[in-house]
């Protein structure tokens, strides 16, 4: 159940990432464009939702710069982790509820989806490596990692959606 193996951790510039072809649908219209498809970048979520998430991210980033923000010697969030979080936000799958954005003690940025006792988190690091952990019940939990290469992988997407699944 664990461990999608991470291989080479490579930092990928935004420009390089956004020019990758994508097969995903786009649901955003930008000012002055009839349709965003084929535009400069392929945003997966609504502009307003992205703005809200970026505001949350900025707050978390700023908070983490305060010395010992967590009161327990927590690490500040690096510029690279912040940058990677913006890249991941831009490709959040359509229809996936907005995550809550939180700082992590080790300087990661956490995206958390939660409902009731279930929750799933991504932990964005200062490299392309993204960690994840989920809790769906006492006997149903998991963790793993993946390399973020500009596309939101299916497995974490499904695990985030599972948080909102009603139990049979």
């Amino acid at each position: 159940m664990n461990n999608m193996t991470a291989e080479i951790v490579r930092f990928k510039p935004l420009r390089e990432q956004v020019t990758e072809p994508s097969t995903s649908q786009t649901n955003v219209d930008f000012p002055g464009k009839e349709n965003s498809t084929g535009g400069d970048f392929d945003l997966k979520i609504g502009v307003k939702q992205l703005q809200n998430l970026l505001t949350q991210l900025n707050d978390v980033f700023s908070e983490s710069k305060i010395l010992d923000w967590g009161g327990n010697g927590a690490e500040p969030i690096s510029d690279a982790a912040y940058y990677n979080a913006t890249r991941l936000l831009a490709v959040l799958p359509v229809g996936l509820p907005a995550p809550e954005i939180l700082p992590d003690n080790d300087g990661y940025i956490e995206f958390e989806w939660s409902k009731g006792d279930k929750n799933f988190s991504l932990y964005i690091t200062d490299t392309n490596l993204v960690l994840f952990a989920g809790f769906y019940g006492k006997e149903d939990r998991l963790s793993g990692r993946f390399n973020f290469e500009g596309k939101f992988p299916n497995r974490p997407e499904n695990l985030a959606r599972d948080v909102y699944q009603e139990d049979p």
Partner: protein
């Protein structure tokens, strides 16, 4: 003076809470991130098995608060020692400061966070009538 103690399965320990919004969920369970120690460090708890509520608060004000940093706890969440055994977490009763426990998490960073989520789900219900039923408020 350091006194090594052994915990029984039913012994109780607490994690002091300093900020309600950023450290607790709506039902008073702790956010798992406050249970994950930093890389190479341990989770800090206090053993309170024989203490009543007011004494738990008083102990926190004496030993867990950091007056120099203006850090004063507002309450606590409680765990049963058996939970740590089940999750294969190692507790060291170092008694520094008094009643202090260090909990060691092992494994990869993502596994430690997985275990912290499981641990967060195991907090004791303190008052089922309250919305934040897992959280005890200190004055």
């Amino acid at each position: 003076m350091f006194t090594k103690k052994t915990l029984n399965e039913n012994d109780l320990c607490v994690k002091y809470i300093f900020r309600e919004k950023s450290e607790l969920m709506k039902d008073g369970k702790p956010r798992s991130r406050i249970l994950v120690p930093r890389e190479g460090e341990k989770l800090s708890l206090y053993e309170v098995t024989d203490l009543i509520h007011d004494d738990v608060c008083s102990h926190g004000h004496t030993y867990a608060d950091n007056k120099a940093k203006g850090r004063r706890h507002i309450g606590y969440v409680k765990f049963i020692h058996e939970t740590f055994l089940r999750l294969k977490l190692i507790i060291i009763y170092d008694d520094k400061p008094p009643r202090h426990l260090s909990v060691k998490f092992s494994g990869s960073p993502e596994y430690r966070r997985e275990v912290a989520k499981a641990l967060a789900d195991e907090v004791v219900v303190i008052d089922a009538r309250l919305p934040k039923k897992h959280f005890a408020v200190c004055k």
